[in-house]
């Protein structure tokens, strides 16, 4: 296996304030191709703010978000023009929302939801688009017979899987996920986690996953960043941070989990 030595994403001193309140402060890290990084912390720790700043949904006050683009190499996405950034968001990037309704078009069929993203990158042949959409529905374990049904008729778990299919169909290189298993039943979560894990491995994806669920990062993430009050208090290999936490807050977080 060849590991690329150029980071796929380099975040430098990224900060965002909401008035006097700190959203996230001075966050820097490098994410390499194929790496999955988890960001954990309690509500209000700044993890979602950070994710949204990186993904271009929020404008940070300062910092750089440098992405290794396919054509032009590393570029600061914060300095890109709006059309450039939008193109990036639907080709090399993907964003999986906690609430599938935020990431899906609820009035459009399941096949349409997947096909729309393909068309956005230039696919025009109806048969091909439908074929790819069918293939992706099957990959996320949705019966191909439901292709013409609207997501409003789907269960929460199915909607989340459809959102993942819609996001991954264009073969992105970096996926941002915001609490991808939040609000789902435990059994549905397990299935979804297993699926995300296989897809990430098979497609060689890099991903940044924000969650408050340590079991989710244990399963999915190679490395972990722990946030508190907008600051990164600890980071490292996932199992190392969880099994041998160094910072007081991480120790508290890990020891607060109920054993089943």
């Amino acid at each position: 296996m060849i590991d690329d030595d150029t980071p796929l994403l380099s975040v430098r001193r990224l900060s965002k304030r909401y008035g006097a309140h700190i959203g996230c402060a001075d966050v820097s890290f490098d994410l390499y191709p194929g790496e999955v990084m988890g960001i954990v912390g309690e509500s209000g720790s700044g993890k979602s703010t950070l994710l949204n700043c990186m993904a271009g949904h929020l404008a940070p006050d300062q910092g750089e978000v440098i992405f290794d683009t396919a054509v032009e190499g590393p570029r600061d996405t914060l300095l890109m023009s709006e059309p450039e950034r939008r193109m990036l968001a639907r080709t090399d990037w993907a964003f999986v929302h906690q609430n599938a309704r935020d990431g899906l078009r609820m009035g459009v069929s399941a096949g349409g939801n997947v096909g729309e993203r393909l068309m956005a990158v230039g696919a025009r042949h109806y048969g091909d688009i439908r074929g790819t959409a069918t293939d992706w529905l099957t990959r996320v374990e949705i019966d191909a017979g439901r292709i013409d049904d609207r997501p409003t008729t789907f269960s929460g778990g199915m909607q989340q899987r459809l959102q993942i299919a819609r996001n991954l169909v264009t073969g992105p290189r970096l996926v941002f996920m915001d609490e991808p298993t939040g609000g789902l039943d435990v059994s549905v979560q397990a299935r979804l986690l297993d699926m995300i894990r296989s897809l990430v491995r098979d497609m060689g994806l890099s991903a940044i996953i924000v969650t408050h669920d340590l079991a989710v990062v244990r399963l999915l993430a190679d490395r972990l960043m722990v946030m508190k009050s907008g600051h990164v208090v600890e980071d490292g290999l996932t199992d190392q941070v969880l099994d041998d936490p160094q910072h007081q807050y991480t120790q508290l977080l890990v020891s607060s989990i109920l054993q089943v």
Partner: protein, 227 residues
């Protein structure tokens, strides 16, 4: 393959009055390819802590901890991940798996992670499961519901499916019947023959005598500890 220089480990419990526990200090030893070394010492002496440090699971506070040339005390996560994928295998006492994944895939996973094609990987996994007497009827099921001995053997199969040049074995023969115990000892002997460097914890004295070339008493690295 393994080289420890003045390795030390301290735990600081911030939420329990900031107590610090010095578990190890001054750990120095090397293990060469083809050699199997047993860690010994009473319960609580720090054998498991040292094993976890050797896997990069616990952070080393001082010294250098080299595995295949990578210093675990300083390595970035991706270097440790690459080391674990290609060089360093670990058979723990407990099986930790993703729910729902069939046993055959659990065992094949280390090969899949290396990019081996699924058919070859599953073939190798099947060969090991057969050798370790896991009935074929169970291969398509998740090992989460298996007995302790069966889980242990699934774990062993997973640890031996890729010919790791460096192996860590935590009680590999615990909870096994004599027949399976013999199979595991054979696997360890085979790994040594192909040049693997092995560090293990064996409470099973006869097994230790049979496969280990040297013993290291961890008590020698133990310093005073807080009450």
């Amino acid at each position: 393959m393994f080289e420890l220089r003045d390795v030390a480990k301290t735990f600081t419990l911030h939420n329990q009055g900031g107590v610090t526990i010095d578990v190890l200090s001054g750990a120095n030893f090397t293990v060469s390819p083809g050699e199997c070394v047993a860690l010994t010492g009473a319960s609580g002496a720090g054998k498991s802590t040292l094993m976890r440090m050797l896997y990069g699971n616990y952070r080393a506070e001082g010294g250098a901890l080299l595995v295949g040339g990578v210093d675990l005390a300083k390595a970035a996560p991706r270097e440790i991940i690459r080391l674990r994928r290609e060089v360093l295998g670990y058979v723990s006492q407990f099986l930790r798996v993703v729910p729902r994944v069939p046993t055959l895939d659990v065992v094949a996973e280390p090969l899949l992670a290396l990019g081996t094609d699924p058919e070859t990987a599953r073939g190798a996994a099947a060969g090991l499961l057969e050798k370790l007497n896991i009935p074929e009827a169970l291969w398509s099921l998740s090992p989460t519901t298996f007995s302790g001995g069966e889980q242990q053997r699934v774990n062993i199969a997973r640890g031996f499916v890729h010919p790791y040049p460096a192996l860590l074995l935590d009680e590999p023969t615990a909870s096994l019947d004599p027949r399976n115990r013999a199979v595991v000892l054979d696997l360890i002997a085979e790994a040594k023959t192909r040049g693997a460097a092995i560090i293990g914890i064996f409470h099973d004295g006869a097994a230790r005598e049979q496969v280990c070339d040297a013993q290291i008493d961890v008590a020698g690295f133990t310093t005073g500890r807080a009450a």
